[in-house]
């Protein structure tokens, strides 16, 4: 049996397999290096970073729910220069492609952080988070108003030559509108989806379980929502889609690819089991080999719907 070709391209970024990790669920990389062979991954996507250091939300920041979890971490981080100093050198000893997730409170923030990272050769692509449900400023607003959305993507586009992946919000009336806008603004790819705005309440204290009151739902509970959004977007655009939302197993990943994704990200599953992403890679390869499927392109979007 021939080994299938698992390679996928996001603009100039070449992934040797279609599996990355979801931003915010894998830290900046070093945290999992003792448990996961980072170079096995198609790419590493790091936690969202803005221009300046940011403190994020108060605690509690996460809460487990049936088949998933809520998070309202609020994008704490070391800022662009902090990331370059503290974490980029770590990647010198690895060959895994690096995707940096960026966000801003203002359009100006987005373009500044994109500009700062544009000079960093080790960074393979930027993923623009316009869909964080947990920061008041900008955040979700840029992801749900298509005019603001275009403003942000345009602003980032002119400041970087790196492949641009725009991370879409799931809570919009029509995902196709945002997917098309991203493509028209010159993005190389979109990622679908961010966590879904959600809430849980302690009935005894009658207070929300999260300090931020609401958060984003992730994990197996959102997988069918994500599959549907990927399927819809895939019929509206020609640029690649990175699918994510509750991917735990090779079968989950294959479902996204059949729906139309070129690549996938493993998120919450890394908390459950840090070896999830590697198991997904191995299982996808074995499944494709067993079926005699030669490449991801051959499988992508083959849903009979």
């Amino acid at each position: 049996m021939n080994k299938p070709d698992l390679k996928v391209r996001i603009g100039s970024l070449e992934m040797k397999n279609p599996v990355t990790v979801a931003s915010g669920t894998f830290g900046y990389g070093p945290e999992y290096a003792g448990l996961v062979d980072l170079d096995r991954l198609g790419a590493i996507t790091v936690k969202g970073i803005c221009t300046e250091p940011h403190v994020g939300n108060a605690t509690p920041r996460t809460f487990e729910t049936a088949g998933g979890m809520l998070n309202a971490i609020g994008l704490p981080g070391p800022g662009a220069q902090g990331f370059i100093k503290k974490y980029l050198p770590f990647y010198e000893k690895y060959s895994v492609p690096l995707i940096v997730n960026i966000w801003g409170k203002t359009v100006e923030d987005y373009s500044r952080v994109a500009e700062i990272f544009n000079d960093q050769a080790r960074i393979g692509a930027l993923e623009v988070n316009v869909s964080c449900p947990n920061v008041k400023e900008g955040g979700a607003l840029y992801g749900t108003d298509v005019n603001l959305f275009r403003t942000v993507v345009d602003a980032v586009r002119v400041r970087t030559q790196k492949p641009l992946i725009v991370k879409l919000a799931p809570n919009v009336a029509d995902i196709k509108v945002f997917a098309r806008a991203a493509q028209e603004c010159g993005a190389e790819a979109v990622s679908i989806m961010n966590s879904y705005p959600a809430m849980a309440i302690d009935i005894e204290t009658r207070r929300p379980q999260l300090a931020n009151r609401t958060g984003g739902l992730s994990g197996p509970a959102i997988k069918p929502i994500a599959v549907k959004l990927v399927w819809e977007a895939a019929r509206a655009i020609t640029i690649p889609i990175i699918g994510m939302g509750g991917i735990y197993t090779p079968e989950d990943a294959l479902e996204f690819i059949i729906a139309g994704a070129s690549a996938v990200a493993v998120g919450t599953a890394s908390f459950t089991d840090p070896s999830s992403a590697v198991r997904v890679i191995e299982g996808v390869e074995a499944w494709m080999a067993a079926k005699g499927i030669g490449s991801i392109a051959e499988l992508r979007g083959t849903v009979q719907a």
């Binding site: 999992y32 605690t59 487990e64 979890m69 998070n71 994990g219 070896s275």
Partner: protein, 275 residues
């Protein structure tokens, strides 16, 4: 830090509602330092996406054990695991207790089964001292004989007075600290007379938040060093998700520190308590 498929060697009621779970862990067991924890994938809790952190009670090449009682869905499910069943572990995790400083006399302070997290420290410290254990009632005070067997003098306080003195463990600690400060000599557990000066005391504590804060405040007020094992909700357990943060003082203010990675043990001096 390793991920290991361990298996249940022993699982039984330990005392009252508390259970002892012993797992084979040839990779992780020998690596465990006092105050570290393991992140456990609870078997047959299919709807749960998160692991559960447990302080390591005892550990060596033969395995590691944890002490727990049912406090939620995870621990409730854990009660059903049977001998021989596989249990996936990540560990050892976190930054545990340092060894006591040179010439220091260690003092342990624990609330409830917090003392499980202090057992390895008690066993491995070269000098034995006094251990203060508190609980709501006598059933909540565990392992007294085990600490005594290691050569520790154990002093007990319970809220209802059913064992030891009545009141908070910090009240027992206060009284003892006052005696030490005024130079009263106390009998060491080994029978030998302890003649340490007050300033040589070093505190190691694990238990409820309010107790930790009280222990930390006392230590700071008296110029003593105290190491506190902080308990926070966790998700990843490895420092990646920033769920488990507490405020750590810095020169200019504060920063977030992760209980799962930078802690769970912190110097009381570093902690900026939130009300």
């Amino acid at each position: 830090m390793k991920q290991e498929n361990s298996c249940v060697l022993e699982h039984r009621l330990y005392q009252g509602d508390y259970r002892l779970l012993k797992l084979s862990a040839p990779l992780i067991g020998p690596l465990v330092q006092p105050g570290q924890f393991v992140h456990v994938k609870i078997p047959r809790l299919e709807q749960a996406v998160l692991r559960r952190p447990f302080s390591v009670f005892k550990a060596d090449a033969s395995g590691l054990s944890i002490l727990y009682k049912t406090v939620g869905k995870g621990t409730a499910a854990l009660t059903t695991v049977a001998d021989g069943e596989p249990v996936n572990l990540i560990g050892p995790l976190g930054t545990g207790f340092p060894t006591a400083g040179n010439g220091k006399t260690p003092v342990l302070v624990a609330g409830g089964y917090g003392n499980a997290a202090l057992y390895l420290q008690a066993a491995r410290l070269p000098v034995k001292g006094v251990a203060f254990f508190g609980g709501r009632t006598s059933g909540d005070v565990l392992c007294v004989d085990e600490f005594e067997a290691l050569g520790w003098e154990v002093r007990i306080a319970t809220d209802d007075g059913s064992l030891g003195r009545k009141g908070f463990v910090t009240a027992a600690l206060d009284e003892w600290l006052a005696e030490q400060e005024s130079g009263v000599r106390s009998q060491g557990a080994g029978g030998g007379e302890q003649n340490e000066t007050f300033q040589s005391l070093e505190l190691f504590a694990c238990g409820p938040n309010a107790m930790l804060r009280a222990v930390g405040d006392r230590a700071l007020a008296k110029g003593l060093t105290a190491w506190l094992s902080m308990d926070r909700n966790m998700a990843c357990g490895v420092g990646a998700c920033l769920t488990c943060v507490i405020k750590r003082k810095t020169a200019g203010g504060w920063e977030w520190a992760r209980c799962c990675k930078d802690g769970p043990v912190f110097n009381a001096e570093e902690i900026l308590w939130e009300d």
